[in-house]
């Protein structure tokens, strides 16, 4: 038996540790450990509730807008504040664009190199690469000239001895299966993807005033003034700029990212067999289309045991059963005791021990729904929408499965999660433009309202802000007392997925997904990375320090 510990202590921001026991080339047990104490929630205590979102969006270094949205919704839910249609539409566009940006970056810059061999791309024939790329997409960038240029760039890097930049990749690993041409195509898109994630960032900045860290929310709506003729507000010129940016990003998502994903999935079809793990799912409804968060473009659902047909559809954000049955257990987490608490009563009292296989081993609590572990993320949202009869999702999921040659039930897997994310990006790129049209139409009808200004009243109020974020269901739980925050807890998607064992010893989604995973070479556990990366782990929540990385440098002290 071999024990693998993956703990990339880059000291830049590495804080997820995975331990896996391997027997005969297969993982037989696994532990997921968040290695960093956060306790960020405590910073919000006693602050004014209307300011919570400004701090909350710094919870995470990557997905800032999602925490802003969830936070503002928690206050609106607590105080039963309606959100005007214009504000809902603007928030929907921000959410959709953030998703598009996040999914592009996840696929190309975080997970692609688990499947794509950069070194092999050097051996590709650019002409054949262009033929391959043109057979799956009409993207104008898929030319022989372009691929040749990328390959030349890579080669010159190698010649100057700088391929070292990719030195820690698992090149030539037996689990790498793409032909050189597919590798070159993917590397070229890996480099150009950066230009498209920026367009999404720019779109968010136009609406949110700033990116990262949007500035335009307020309890009861948005602070984005709308006046089609006024230069200082959201006007026709800005709408036109948004439309162009979002259309360009959509073209990239639908003609590059999505076809690349389909091509890679078709070659790595065996990866639909691995990484199943926990197949209880939760997704909350998202993209509100009314002022009370009761009508949504995408439904939510609770799915047990992978049975999509028996899904319980969640239609709104006031679902009392859902609100009552989310609890967090700390038996295996570095907090006092082994109790289970509802987030409104949640405590954050640290109690650190060493890493104990059978005891406490992580800073991550174990969230449970009805006492069971749950997987959240793009597959959950697609399954929910599929079960809820969303025609757009059904068509897209069915068509994608047909192209790859798998069934919907194969999506409970490592490759299924990657595929679901590409499908969701496809969907969100469409929704971005759809909600922009709806916004323009609604303003055209004469509705200029973008906020219901709200005073925080005296007394005690509890609220929950649900949001279906790129990584899955996010919820912020707030208790307000006498105009101040009395308690605040965030149950984030990665807490659901990176959950440790609970009081009954039941494994969390990352852990369960690794059991049965193949590992060809224990010292190069590429396959473990594939499965963990497929969840898009987002653990550190942002401690960030530059480390000149042990290079021999001369420190020049200047102050």
């Amino acid at each position: 038996m071999a024990r693998i510990t993956l703990d990339p202590i880059t000291r830049i921001e590495g804080h997820l540790r995975i331990d896996a026991e391997v027997n005969g080339g297969v993982v037989t047990n696994a532990w997921s450990s968040a290695q960093m104490w956060r306790g960020i929630e405590t910073i919000l205590k006693d602050r004014p509730p209307q300011d919570a979102w400004i701090y909350a969006q710094r919870f995470c270094g990557v997905c800032t807008t999602v925490h802003a949205i969830s936070s503002i919704r928690s206050v609106e839910h607590a105080l039963k504040v309606d959100v005007p249609l214009n504000a809902q539409y603007i928030r929907n566009i921000i959410m959709a664009q953030h998703s598009v940006q996040d999914h592009i970056v996840h696929f190309y810059h975080l997970s692609a190199l688990d499947w794509v061999d950069v070194v092999s791309a050097l051996k590709a024939d650019p002409k054949k690469t262009a033929q391959l790329a043109q057979s799956i997409s009409n993207w104008p960038g898929n030319s022989e000239t372009e691929f040749k240029a990328v390959q030349q760039k890579l080669k010159s890097f190698v010649e100057t001895g700088r391929l070292g930049i990719f030195a820690s990749g698992y090149w030539g690993h037996p689990a790498m299966k793409l032909p050189p041409e597919a590798n070159l195509m993917a590397v070229a898109h890996y480099l150009s993807a950066l230009d498209y994630q920026r367009k999404a960032a720019q779109a968010i900045a136009i609406l949110g005033g700033k990116n990262p860290h949007i500035q335009n929310l307020c309890v009861g709506g948005v602070a984005t003034a709308i006046n089609m003729e006024n230069l200082a507000t959201l006007n026709m010129e800005k709408i036109a700029a948004l439309k162009t940016l979002m259309a360009e990003t959509r073209e990239f998502v639908q003609q590059v990212y999505y076809p690349d994903m389909v091509a890679i999935a078709s070659i790595y079809k065996d990866w639909f067999k691995y990484g199943r793990g926990v197949v209880n799912y939760l997704a909350v409804p998202e993209m509100p289309e009314d002022t009370k968060n009761t009508k949504f473009a995408l439904p939510g659902a609770i799915i047990s045991g992978g049975d999509i047909k028996k899904a319980r559809i969640v239609t709104n954000h006031q679902d009392l059963d859902l609100i009552a049955n989310i609890k967090e257990n700390v038996s295996h987490a570095w907090y006092e005791g082994n109790g289970t608490l509802h987030p409104w009563d949640g405590e954050t009292k640290p109690s650190y021990t060493e890493f104990q296989d059978n005891g406490k081993y992580t800073w991550c609590k174990a969230p449970r729904l009805d006492g069971k572990p749950v997987q959240v993320g793009p597959p959950a949202q697609l399954f929910a929408a599929y079960a809820g009869g969303n025609e757009k999702v059904r068509k897209l999921v069915d068509a994608s499965c047909a192209k790859i040659g798998v069934g919907v039930n194969d999506l409970h897997s490592t490759m299924g999660r990657l595929g679901a994310r590409a499908i969701r990006a496809h969907l969100m790129a469409d929704y971005s433009l759809e909600f922009l049209d709806k916004l323009v139409e609604n303003v055209g009808k004469g509705d200029k309202v973008y906020a219901n200004p709200t005073e925080i009243p005296k007394g005690e109020y509890k609220g929950v802000g649900f949001h279906e974020a790129p990584r899955g269901t996010l919820s912020h739980w707030i208790v307000i007392e006498n105009r101040k925050i009395k308690n605040y807890q965030a149950v984030v998607p990665s807490t659901w997925n990176a959950s440790p064992r609970d009081d009954k010893g039941v494994l969390g989604p990352y852990e369960a997904s690794l059991v049965g995973n193949p590992v060809a070479q224990a010292d190069k556990p590429l396959e473990v990375l594939r499965t963990i990366h497929s969840f898009d782990p987002c653990i550190a929540c942002a401690v960030h320090t530059i480390d000149p990385e042990g290079k021999e440098i001369t420190n020049v002290k200047v102050m």
């Binding site: 880059t10 701090y55 710094r58 800032t64 480099l191 942002a542 320090t545 020049v556």
Partner: protein
């Protein structure tokens, strides 16, 4: 010449947010010409790569892990802190500015002049304020950075 002053860090972990506090300090005390961008980059790595690629020269301000006393400020040129490799990443949090710059190099879009001012922190405790020691370093570092920008031909005025 387009100049970017990029402050990195998380405002919720006291000194970890130094770069962001630094940007706020500059906004309050100086007036910059239009071709200088003050940027609160938070802790986003790859998702702000375009900000770096668009500039001709970049001044990065961040906390660093280095030998020395809390509050010590070190100055690095691009070649001093560029990583020689892209380490394996578990999460997008781990794609830091160094990796982003490496990617930009491959794209031929990496600015030639990047200067990092790194400060050794006192504490990473939760809290939205800097430690008194690091707060006291803001004016001096601002003068240093402004002097370098002025030396590159872009005058900056004090408010």
């Amino acid at each position: 010449m387009k100049t970017l002053i990029f402050g990195a860090g998380n405002l919720l972990f006291s000194d970890e947010g130094f770069g962001v506090h630094f940007i706020q300090y500059l906004q309050k005390h100086y007036t910059f010409p239009a071709d200088v961008t003050l940027y609160d980059g938070g802790t986003l790595g790859i998702m702000v790569s375009h900000m770096l690629e668009d500039a001709d020269q970049v001044f990065l301000v961040d906390t660093i892990e280095a030998k020395g006393e809390p509050g010590d400020v070190y100055r690095y040129e691009k070649d001093d802190f560029m990583l020689g490799k892209l380490p394996i990443k578990m999460s997008p949090h781990q794609i830091g500015i160094q990796e982003v710059l490496a990617l930009s190099e491959i794209r031929d879009r990496c600015p030639k002049k990047i200067t990092l001012f790194g400060i050794i922190p006192t504490t990473y405790d939760t809290g939205a304020e800097l430690s008194p020691l690091l707060a006291g370093k803001l004016p001096g570092l601002a003068e240093l950075v402004v002097a370098e920008i002025a030396a590159s031909g872009t005058p900056v005025e004090k408010r």
